[in-house]
Symmetry: D2
Amino acid sequence: MWFTSDNAGPAAPEIMEAMMSANEIYSQSYGADPIMDRVRDKIRDIFEAPHAAVYLVATGTAANSLALASMVQPWQTIYCHRHAHIQEDECGAPEFYSGGAKLTLLDGADAKIDLASFEQSVAETGQVGVHNVQKGALSITTATENGAVYSVAEIEALCAVAKANNIPVHLDGARFANALVNLGCTPAEMTWKAGVEVVSFGGTKNGCIGVEAVVLFNPDRAWEFELRRKRGGHLISKHRYLSAQMDAYLTDDLWLNLAIKSNAAAAKLSAGILQLPGATLLHPTDANIVFAGWKRSGHQAVQNAGAHYYFWPFDQTLNGDPDEILTARMVCNWATTEADIDSFLGLISK
Amino acid sequence: MWFTSDNAGPAAPEIMEAMMSANEIYSQSYGADPIMDRVRDKIRDIFEAPHAAVYLVATGTAANSLALASMVQPWQTIYCHRHAHIQEDECGAPEFYSGGAKLTLLDGADAKIDLASFEQSVAETGQVGVHNVQKGALSITTATENGAVYSVAEIEALCAVAKANNIPVHLDGARFANALVNLGCTPAEMTWKAGVEVVSFGGTKNGCIGVEAVVLFNPDRAWEFELRRKRGGHLISKHRYLSAQMDAYLTDDLWLNLAIKSNAAAAKLSAGILQLPGATLLHPTDANIVFAGWKRSGHQAVQNAGAHYYFWPFDQTLNGDPDEILTARMVCNWATTEADIDSFLGLISK
Amino acid sequence: MWFTSDNAGPAAPEIMEAMMSANEIYSQSYGADPIMDRVRDKIRDIFEAPHAAVYLVATGTAANSLALASMVQPWQTIYCHRHAHIQEDECGAPEFYSGGAKLTLLDGADAKIDLASFEQSVAETGQVGVHNVQKGALSITTATENGAVYSVAEIEALCAVAKANNIPVHLDGARFANALVNLGCTPAEMTWKAGVEVVSFGGTKNGCIGVEAVVLFNPDRAWEFELRRKRGGHLISKHRYLSAQMDAYLTDDLWLNLAIKSNAAAAKLSAGILQLPGATLLHPTDANIVFAGWKRSGHQAVQNAGAHYYFWPFDQTLNGDPDEILTARMVCNWATTEADIDSFLGLISK
Amino acid sequence: MWFTSDNAGPAAPEIMEAMMSANEIYSQSYGADPIMDRVRDKIRDIFEAPHAAVYLVATGTAANSLALASMVQPWQTIYCHRHAHIQEDECGAPEFYSGGAKLTLLDGADAKIDLASFEQSVAETGQVGVHNVQKGALSITTATENGAVYSVAEIEALCAVAKANNIPVHLDGARFANALVNLGCTPAEMTWKAGVEVVSFGGTKNGCIGVEAVVLFNPDRAWEFELRRKRGGHLISKHRYLSAQMDAYLTDDLWLNLAIKSNAAAAKLSAGILQLPGATLLHPTDANIVFAGWKRSGHQAVQNAGAHYYFWPFDQTLNGDPDEILTARMVCNWATTEADIDSFLGLISK
């Protein structure tokens, strides 16, 4: 019963098999492998974007930071939610890669950026000319850090304001597949058709070992991106092992099927908790993360049985009034089983 | 017959098996996996350095740049050979990670730093106080880009000058094992006992998928290193797959046995070429790289048969006088077979 | 009637005379001039800090950025008020000089940092270890951008929280003299005795041509500061002209007397406006800046007569209901005369 | 008898008078002063470049670094002479402002870049694509650090190679006037007509207090330059005092007349020394710097009489064989008198 993160679980068998197959060939290194040619084609096909530039890196922080660095100047600001991963969980990587750009923090429920908050911040940016940091890029995340998913209309509305202000839009899709299967739209509708220019397309959290694609719908800065990736130490020499993961991930809808599983597990967990007396939900369970509260006695029972997850906020403790509601964050992954959920729910409802 | 690089070949079977085993567990992410605890112990044991800080990253450029960034200030210089990987093949990654430190280029045969060249450069650094870039770190590479290996005495001599000037020493050991088996000394003798403070300990080129260890013999800046690694996007979430590679690599002398194989292949290749009329050796074949020249007719024969390697320098061509000597760089890896070498030699000697 | 900024006015005659005198000598450059020796002694004397390191630069942005860069690491955050000059008016200079540190924005009335806001932000910093930007420095400004002055007790309270968290404290004293004469305390009481470690001690806004001192009460990082200053292009070759300004500024209490004049002018202006029907004060007039509102008809009258100042916020316009209250920011300088104020008040009260 | 540097001497009286006049006005700050409008027009007129963007800063290091940062990307290299000021005397400022660009060092007599050295370095840059630092900018200096002046033909030849490789050219003109009066050509001929795109146009060393212009013949990146200047803390608030210096400097050929004086003083000094037995000249005296050698006894005599200059190289000493030739660097400035030279020559020839 591991719910600490979707990166605590195993990689899917298809991914591991692809690694073994990739090991049987000699290959050019640094991305010139033939598997990468297939990956590029598949991503262009999935996104209906035949001219997109496609690159692979091993971490989400690298994907986000390199993407944003290619979109902003050092004297510009990146608009993002105040609970965005790039603000809270990357130790300043966007600042490092961009050469010191600022992050302007926006508000909104469930870690989704409120349109009015974005509009106001944009209006306030650069009012005194050269004295001010200038307008840079907008970065949105879906599914969000709170497990919520933007509707296509919400993405379109943010992108419209961005476009009117010449602000390019980045989408942090560490949980891209989880968001997509929730919406039931096409990848193109969730991205470039809505106005997104660059996507961090995650594989790691959804059943890969460690691979993220960066998709640049406008390939004008592709060469710059390649140089930034190399300079950042993120051009993998034996690149075929990244390619192989992404290739398998995109074959026979594996990426979608894995996300369907983890979303379903989270939905079941969320629904089950809500049956308990006094239970609460902090955020909607749109994807594979559950933010919920139940009695301390339930926490005691399940943690004593070896369940792993985080209190949310962190500073709650197991000792105290057994009837007090404690809140937690639980992340399901593709390998989370129905039996895991049933067992968990059984323990907390005693 | 792939001799373009040691990263063109497959990973060793033991490495692949370790990846499969690592996939069977749930685990804390970001380096808190139990396999990493074993790796840390093994490296400390191998280096006879019980207090060393040990970290894993996925690329050699990351290992070198993060190591050097933790050793110098932005207003200092890094002394290195003018053909060092950090100067020629990392697209300025050391400058990026260090916040703009300078690289001072030294001379020496076979890409080994000449002691007098280092002494002179150090003497010339910082003569006009605050106006000058200041003394930073020394970075040496063994085996070098030219396939040569420093003797322990040569490392000691460079480190002595460095120490006398308060200059910490980094060793780029992308081919650490290849150098070590050439010398027949202990890892400690080749590093901290000689005066080296930080080592990039390579696994990727020697049979892993993609893993390098950074070993800080002085752990004072370990926390800084961890922050730099995270900020650079090089803290891998599913870290257990890095740990598993390094764990297998260090088990039952696998790392040494793989290097013995690739060094032996290179020695055989080098010796075979030298039998040919007019053949030349550009650099000694101390490790797994051969820099050699033979007749154009031999190059034509072997390349027509599908051999992959690079002319060195690049601007030589297959067309021309068949008796002219063309020079090439060939890298052997652990999987290079005796049959590969025999076949290659047979073709070029026709 | 120029009230756009205290940098719109002339330098004091004593400053100009010192420039002429400095021109009569040959001198070593780059700060090795004998006038600088006097300046250093005077600042140490004024601050009762015999071991302080003292450096001069030409701009407040340089003073603040270099000071902060020497106090934080790139992966740390600088706590400041959300309306601090370093956040709003330096085009990201602190991010640039620090190598990409973050600014964490705090709240509080009159651009003074609220203690609780600081405490909460500190408590939230670095909760998830290496994933988070770490605690860096606190930067306070007095007089603030809103013309308010911290009491010594308020500074002490902020510094106490900072000290308990190993956070060094920087004071942006672009209007140091204006704050000091408001409080009537000693420079030491307003700074190191309260817990401040580094001060940007402004001269430019208070009657100099362009000179700011950076005072490091702890000289441990003095050499680093010198290297950062040079590397930033802020080590002035003909430094004697900076020294001369600061020397005259600190002679015979000139710096205090100039601040007394500008504060008095602002007080008179503020009091006069408040006599008008419907007039408002947005912030207390502790120093030399007045934030006040009066009827549009008064703005029309005074602006038609050639007065220069800014509406605050900017987006108000002269056209409209003559009785509507429009708010403005007006900065007095040492050369603002009683006649200027009387004339201004006369015009707006018609 | 001060010959340590041209920045050891006084500012010209016309410059000081302009400062006094500038002090009589109220003015917009940050470069919006009316004097700057005159300066811009004068520089455009002098350079026959009606569309050039013109900015002022207080130091040569700022001028060079900001200029170069606007011409290169962080992953590119700046070609310069190995004894260029940007390499040897700016503590890494170009690396800092550019975000970590590399400096590729070229050879050539008298600190003038040899054409073949430049051609070879360009040919060697970027041969392995993304792995290498890329071609950036060329920076030439005239008069050079060795007091030599490029002919127009030499500048044209370097610029032609640069242009053929899409490499923009920067001219470090800290001693622009000294070079120009030596050549007797027009400013346009020495710069944009020859292929130079950006000029650091020095005032400080040639009789100003502290002001340098940056002239961008192609104004496309003017706004970027302004943002970089502000972000670097080099936008002076009371900018009128920079403007006033440059305005006076460019009035009635003051800048040319001052350079004529200092060049003439150096020529007289150089010629006088060469009369002595055993005297040597290390570099041609094209501008206002003399590199010459004469007997130790002469050095003893003149230094005992209070002359200030540097041995070149530094490590020579006054004690020793009186007949040994010691070499020195002596810089004349506009205020160096014939009597100074006569006195100096008299002392060393005893």
